[in-house]
């Protein structure tokens, strides 16, 4: 197996504000191996988005260490080891779809001759090659999120960080994009850290699911998903799929913070 590609050791995060300090994460330790698809699930405000941002060096941890490919998270970011997808697609209105996907290549200072080839291949991969010349606002929400995924893969990053990427989509589109995402990940061999609210989505996609406790967030339980690969539509009908969904649901319910369905509002969570 070798050494893990992402290693978190005692990572904690406290946000300071005028209202006082908010403890978002308390001592999270975690190791993700190359090629894994790890989902992070938990109630709102459990700090799962903060966790993702700490791995991506978008937020500094208050304590603890992050190692990515044996480097600091900052070095990994500067080496452009990450591709990021947010809940909103964050596409640029003044760029056509193809130009949105090629943006990372421009930022990385790649020669102009390379700007088209890989973005076009990626658009084909997400089924949008016909829409390369469209503007983002001419596309549906699901299509926009596909463009966002293609962009995240533009520099062939070894790690894909996804923050509830399908949270704003309807159930049908979400399931189809789940399927597509797995194909894309197989072809690009990227390791994925995936934040989600959806238990079914986490079970369908992941090799492992990190269940987090409410604020301050900590790893509550790790569920290994032993469903066969490749995952297909029939996977969702297997008894084992339902068992795993139940396991994850129970882990979330057992949480004292969630008894009575009470979740503290606000915070940095999602």
């Amino acid at each position: 197996m070798g050494s893990p590609i992402i290693e978190l050791d005692g990572v904690a995060k406290t946000f300071e504000s005028r209202a006082g300090a908010t403890e978002a994460l308390r001592s999270v330790s975690l190791a993700v191996d190359a090629g894994e698809f790890v989902s992070v699930i938990g109630p709102s405000g459990c700090g799962k988005s903060s966790l993702l941002r700490i791995v991506g060096d978008l937020v500094e941890p208050s304590a603890g260490a992050v190692r990515v490919k044996g480097k600091s998270a900052r070095q990994a970011r500067l080496d452009r080891d990450y591709g990021i997808v947010f809940q909103t697609p964050v596409l640029y209105d003044w760029r056509i779809v193809l130009e949105n996907v090629q943006l990372p290549l421009e930022l990385a200072g790649r020669p102009r001759v390379e700007w088209q080839q890989r973005p076009r291949a990626l658009l084909r991969l997400v089924g949008l090659d016909e829409f390369a010349g469209h503007y983002p606002w001419q596309l549906s929400g699901g299509m926009q999120q596909r463009v966002s995924i293609a962009r995240a893969l533009a520099l062939n990053p070894s790690i894909l960080l996804m923050d509830e990427p399908f949270g704003a989509l309807d159930e049908m589109t979400r399931e189809r994009l789940n399927q597509e995402l797995l194909q894309v990940c197989t072809e690009t061999a990227a390791t994925v850290l995936f934040v989600t609210h959806s238990i079914a989505e986490a079970v369908f996609l992941s090799t492992r699911i990190i269940v987090m406790s409410p604020r301050p967030g900590a790893v509550d339980r790790v569920v290994t998903v032993d469903l066969p690969r490749p995952r297909v539509d029939e996977t969702r009908a297997q008894p084992r799929f339902f068992e795993l969904v139940t396991t994850v649901r129970q882990s979330l319910r057992e949480d004292p913070g969630l008894v009575g369905g009470h979740v503290r509002p606000g915070g940095s969570g999602s």
């Binding site: 941002r53 060096d57 452009r80 990021i84 964050v90 003044w94 930022l107 503007y135 001419q138």
Partner: protein, 254 residues
């Protein structure tokens, strides 16, 4: 074809208004020095054409030069301010407040400082166009979403890249809203500051002196030239806007 159909009603209203104007002047036998009929204004426009062209160009030059300096300065200042949020928070309230200051009231003083020729008018136009452009450009440059900045950070983008590839194109719609409004302001500023004094070969002085001599038809024809130049300026800026941001208009038309 759809364009023609779109603007036809507005054009029809204009024609009807002019006919009504003619009819009212004729029906009530209004003296031409009070309100000349449209055909009289057109006739006067033909007769005084060379003088009006010279005066128009003189005033239009003030408006365009002042506009270029004021708006250009406003955009540059906004670019500088967007690099330092602390500076922006100090300056922005004053820049916004300046919208309610009647800058034209400074016109008599501008003549003391910059002379009775074009300099004083240009100074007024610069002041009138600088602040609105500064405020809009700064708002545009600093209204990029936090997620957009996170995305740029994840790609290890430099400040210069973020500026050129995200902030600047993002700010263009807001910037052009101000640039269009300032085109109108510039022409107003130039003509009105000439009312406070200037050479005879300027539109403002021409309007003022003909009006005070009850040469109403000459005054009206000069006002017509000022209107035409103002519209020309506005549409020139609007055309540049379309050329610079084709995506923006495709969207609003789809």
């Amino acid at each position: 074809m759809s364009r023609v159909r779109e603007y036809a009603p507005a054009a029809l209203v204009l024609v009807m208004a002019l006919l009504l104007w003619e009819a009212v002047v004729f029906a009530f036998a209004i003296e031409f020095y009070l309100l000349p009929a449209p055909h009289v204004i057109v006739q006067s426009l033909r007769e005084t054409y060379p003088v009006l062209v010279e005066a128009g160009l003189y005033t239009f030059t003030e408006a365009v030069v002042g506009y270029a300096l004021g708006c250009g300065g406003g955009i540059l200042a906004a670019m500088a301010a967007s690099r330092s949020p602390a500076f922006a928070t100090v300056v922005l309230p004053y820049a916004v407040a300046s919208a309610s200051v009647p800058i034209i009231a400074l016109a008599p003083l501008a003549i003391v400082w910059f002379g009775v020729e074009q300099g004083s008018k240009i100074a007024i136009v610069v002041l009138m166009t600088f602040f609105p452009t500064f405020v809009s450009a700064l708002r545009g440059l600093s209204s990029v979403t936090p997620q957009s900045l996170e995305l740029m950070r994840s790609y290890a983008a430099t400040e210069q890249q973020i500026f050129l590839k995200i902030r600047l194109p993002h700010s263009l719609p807001m910037m052009f809203t101000a640039l269009r409004a300032c085109a109108t302001l510039a022409m107003i500023g130039a003509v009105v500051s000439e009312f406070f004094g200037g050479p005879v070969k300027s539109l403002g002085v021409y309007i003022k002196s003909t009006a005070s001599l009850f040469q109403t038809r000459q005054a009206w024809s000069a006002i017509l030239v000022a209107c035409a130049l103002g519209l020309l300026f506005y549409f020139a800026v609007a055309l540049i806007e379309r050329l610079v941001m084709p995506w923006h208009f495709e969207r609003s038309e789809s």
